[in-house]
């Protein structure tokens, strides 16, 4: 059942993205930036955690969860260190994703050749 919900929620988030591309004629860059900001804002209201509880990977896989993780890490450190904590915590939870992306992009670029 969790798979069905993950499928549905993830799919719906992607459909919103597709509508922004087709109807609003935004570029993919604008859509992705908006989504990540939306994720941060939703987490600001405490809503994104509830979505993750409900949809699991359907909420953690889309790029919106990146915004959520950035804010989440910031708030966690802010509880301990106050204002300064915001800066300390921002990349705490997203470290796995960003470092993986950098590492794998680097390795793939060394091994493969673009095919066009």
């Amino acid at each position: 059942m969790e798979y069905v919900i993950a499928f549905a929620v993830g799919g719906i988030i992607c459909v919103i993205g597709q509508l922004l591309l087709d109807l609003a004629k935004l570029t993919p860059a604008h859509v992705m930036s908006s989504f990540v900001v939306a994720g941060a804002i939703l987490d600001g209201f405490g809503l994104y955690d509830k979505l993750i509880e409900f949809a699991g990977a359907g909420a953690t896989v889309p790029i919106t969860s990146f915004g959520h993780s950035l804010l989440h890490g910031a708030m966690k450190q802010a509880d301990d260190h106050g204002f300064i904590g915001i800066g300390i915590g921002i990349f705490e939870l997203t470290s796995a994703g960003i470092s993986a992306a950098i590492l794998f992009a680097f390795i793939i670029a060394l091994i493969f050749k673009p095919k066009g």
């Binding site: 993205g17 597709q18 896989v61």
Partner: protein
């Protein structure tokens, strides 16, 4: 050229009948399908990490995302991701796989300029905006929330 002047003023309106419209429904269905599949795969990977490794619900997201990024980078390297992207649109761009693809494709493309000036310098060409906006918005929302929590509650 009088006709042309009038046409120039509302050219964009007048050529709308000639421009093919995207098939909105088909595109949304494809995005829903592929986006859903990627998220379902993510769920399966997450459950795998919880079951076989020392992860729980809270932190299994990390290796899951890293695994999806690896898969996406490989598909980009094999020249398959761009075809998936053309089919799925937002369905492959919105999940974190799209982020990984944007970085990998940029790095791969600029290999001909060398590793330092090509691969490393250009890697964030397409993904930079996500990181910048994510960080800035996290700061702003974080500060607002912190002020709210500290002074108003």
């Amino acid at each position: 050229m009088a006709n042309n002047q009038k046409l120039k003023d509302n050219y964009q309106e007048s050529i709308k009948p000639f421009q093919p419209k995207p098939s909105y429904v088909a595109n949304c269905l494809k995005a829903f399908l592929v986006g859903g599949i990627i998220c379902t795969l993510g769920q399966a990977i997450q459950n795998f990490y919880i079951a076989f490794f020392d992860f729980n619900e809270k932190n299994a997201g990390n290796p899951t995302v890293a695994t999806l990024i690896l898969i996406s980078a490989l598909l980009t390297g094999f020249g398959i991701y761009d075809r998936i992207g053309q089919f799925a649109g937002a369905g492959s761009a919105v999940p974190v796989t799209g982020f990984a693809n944007s970085m990998t494709s940029a790095a791969l493309e600029h290999r001909s300029e060398g590793i330092v000036l090509g691969v490393a310098t250009n890697m964030f060409k397409l993904a930079g905006n996500v990181i910048v906006f994510g960080t800035v918005s996290a700061y702003v929302v974080g500060i607002i929330r912190y002020l709210f929590k500290t002074y108003l509650l």
